[in-house]
Subunit: 274 residues, 4 copies
């Protein structure tokens, strides 16, 4: 009986360390995990540099297996310390955690599978869970709510931009020669995207006066319509900041009005204590 | 008599399917049409890639004629299912629909007319009509009203930018040599647009110290004045969001008009208490 | 006596046509003048294209002298139709008007003075005076007031950016070799401006890993701080829109509160007729 | 006794001239100092241009030692005119002032130490202290408070961008060949930063259709998410402008605290009627 209770205690403690970050041990685990993720990604990145690979390839391989081992142990611990393992396995972070360790094991059987290790970069997303430690959570929530609320409007905007670049890319393909790099419509659409987003690589650029005129039009269009997503997000954020203000303090018990600052002790409309 | 009524029924049903999207059949028609438009544009785009054209040119040609056939049938159906066909023919979408099928038929008589098929990309604009299906209409309205309301201010801004690039392009033409690519004033103005919109291809770039100084000035100017259209659109959107909020909440019980501010206690049109 | 009055009448009429744009003749004069300015600039621009100059050089020269004649007559008319000619001569537009005709006359004595004709582009600024015709004045005022009010904050921002690019340009000069194009500190500062404003010509680009790291930092800095001028201008515009709202309608005669919409007939706070 | 008082007077006067800028002498000192800083930086910059160095190297060296002398005297004066010299030495500006004179002295012993003179550019930061003279202080405070308040949200945003570029850079490394310039993951991540910030040098650019597709995605992502920092800063500025307005208008007559909203009728801290 006592043993069973101990086991339960042990599992609960583990759960607290791995999944929560309120306790000292939980915080330490999160920080250590983040360090391992960052280190493993740095190793994968450096290993891709030819000069470093030829010199330190062996060390990098060893480190990669060490990190794979650590992440495998972490994955198993996560499975056994949670009540419903299926929920974790099929969650977003569960899938990413699995994706981070599979390529190493696959590389034993398939040559080249190791290159999929770059998917480990997805684990960087865990960095956003670490924010709890430093009280950045409300800021993250603010941003994500604002972005999610803007998503519909922004997706319409992106669709509009895509329609524009397909049409304008098709037109420039009619106008410009192959020699300037406009060898096909997809290539021309790619160029239109490079231009409308004001990136401007310069690998493809119009050579004829008419082409340059159309390009100028696309540039000014891109320069002007960047205002639209900015306006959307800003308006959404301003509304949310206003709502947050009202939500932070309850409505005034006397007059019922909202919109008080977070540091308000008295209602600014009727003077009642909040 | 019954036959006539049937004919009327048939026409009305067709109208509902083609022009409306509330019914199941209407939605299916819209989605199928959008799929055809997207597919036909993809075919035109892929056909423009030389390597694909030489291999699959025949298939692409066949597909193009199939899509032309479908769009022709659609155009005829639209004509016969509407009461006043002229209204459709001379409408914006009617013109585009016609533009999308003409090039194929012209290509029989004129060589090269087929290249005008890229105009079919304009049909992509129909995508914005599909939004009704997924309740994006209010978001689209929000954006288009905000953009339309900002248009006057933004057109002044664009005129200001155009004046700037003509003046600055003329000045850089005096300063820089032909060898750097500043061969004429129009070319220099083109470069000024590329620079002020922060696109920066690099095909033309100043070589002299004074030219680089002027270029730096243009860049900083462009970097700074992009704030202006953004400010215009954001302010417009914020005002509209504020008005929408009032509209959602309270129509006047007396005159029924909407668009009151959120802090309004009385109708601004008739003075009735809200 | 009557003759004198006639002369006065004649002068006043001329003044009305040239300086004002309320009358039909005034509007016609403004539109004709704008057309001449645009045409003269197009001629100067086309004349700078070598291939066009060798073919139509004579025609362009003739047109230039015609436009110079027209502008000279206009300048003289402006002088005699105004009461205090000195006020016009030393005004901003007076100086530009003079600058637009001088180069042609100078070119008779000095070879090459004609290239200063590009200064005629400054006359394009007159385009902003034409806006009166199409009721864009309030929009222009809105923009210019917002920009003027933001100028102090934006100049601080530009100073901050300039300080950044001098410091970062100096640092990259220490890091990168001459062979990558970083041949001097001014050149490196120029590159830093190209990078921080996200123009990115690519004529100078870092080659070493450390240089690329610093470049990445500058890019992210530039990507982030573009928010600052946008925020300044947007806030200024929002405040101005709010003020305009209050200014447009008088304060409520009953409760004295402001902030009514332009289409309001009744006070939204107390229901009093405005 | 009188002598001692004189000494005290002399020190206090010096302090007033060097550290303050209310008096005429203080203003003159600040302006002269700023001129010296700008001149010394211009000399360092010009000296780095090879053609100028070979011609005027001797003059530049002399000027550098003159400026070093001036700054050394200024540093010593600052030390003796302040009560607690340690406070100045370890302050931010104290450290920069020291950094500005050390390289010159080091260059006597170490060849090449002179190149560290570019650190003198940091002294440009003193320019922001000069703003007091022209009453730009409140604007600077406005900007710095808005930026500091936005810092948390913007740092989350930068982290998100960094995560994106690591992931997307890794993916493009898998897709593209070495021949296009994607020789390693760090190089690919660098390219992703160049692309997402819309700088677009063009020294590295995708060559395969899939690579171009991914690049287009990154560009549109970068074009869209630039809205986020702008939204953050704008919202923060708008809130601050709103608070400032309240502060300017009404300090509480009871508790004297400021920062009330413009629609506040009662003090939010003590409930007193405003």
């Amino acid at each position: 009986m006592i043993k069973e209770k101990d086991a339960k205690d042990w599992r609960e403690k583990l759960h607290g360390v791995i999944y929560e970050s309120e306790t000292k041990a939980g915080k330490a685990f999160d920080v250590a995990l983040l360090f391992c993720i960052l280190a493993s990604i740095v190793v994968v990145m450096l290993d891709s540099v030819h000069s470093l690979h030829s010199r330190y390839g062996g060390i990098f391989l060893a480190l990669e297996w060490i990190f794979t081992g650590i992440f495998t142990v972490e994955y198993i611990l996560r499975l056994i310390s949670i009540r419903r393992p299926y929920k974790y396995i099929f969650s977003f972070f569960g899938a990413i955690d699995l994706l981070a360790i599979i390529p190493s094991y696959l590389s034993v059987f398939f040559v080249g599978a190791q290159s999929l290790l770059v998917l480990r970069a997805l684990r960087l997303l865990r960095i956003f869970r670490i924010f709890r430690l430093v009280h950045f959570l409300s800021e993250m929530q603010f941003l994500s709510v604002a972005v999610v609320n803007s998503l519909r409007k922004i997706s319409i905007f992106i669709l509009f931009v895509l329609t524009c670049v397909v049409i304008l890319g098709s037109v420039i393909y009619l106008v410009e020669d192959d020699s300037s790099g406009f060898t096909s419509i997809p290539q021309s659409v790619y160029w239109a995207i490079v231009t409308i987003t004001t990136v401007g690589y310069g690998d493809v650029a119009p050579a004829t006066p008419l082409g340059k005129f159309i390009a100028s039009f696309i540039m000014l269009l891109g320069y002007g319509i960047i205002a639209v997503p900015t306006g959307i997000v800003t308006t959404e954020m301003a509304q949310q900041a206003y709502r947050n203000k009202g939500r932070a303090n309850n409505a005034c018990p006397n007059c019922g009005k909202e919109g008080h600052d977070t540091d308000a002790s008295f209602c600014k409309f009727c003077g009642e204590k909040l």
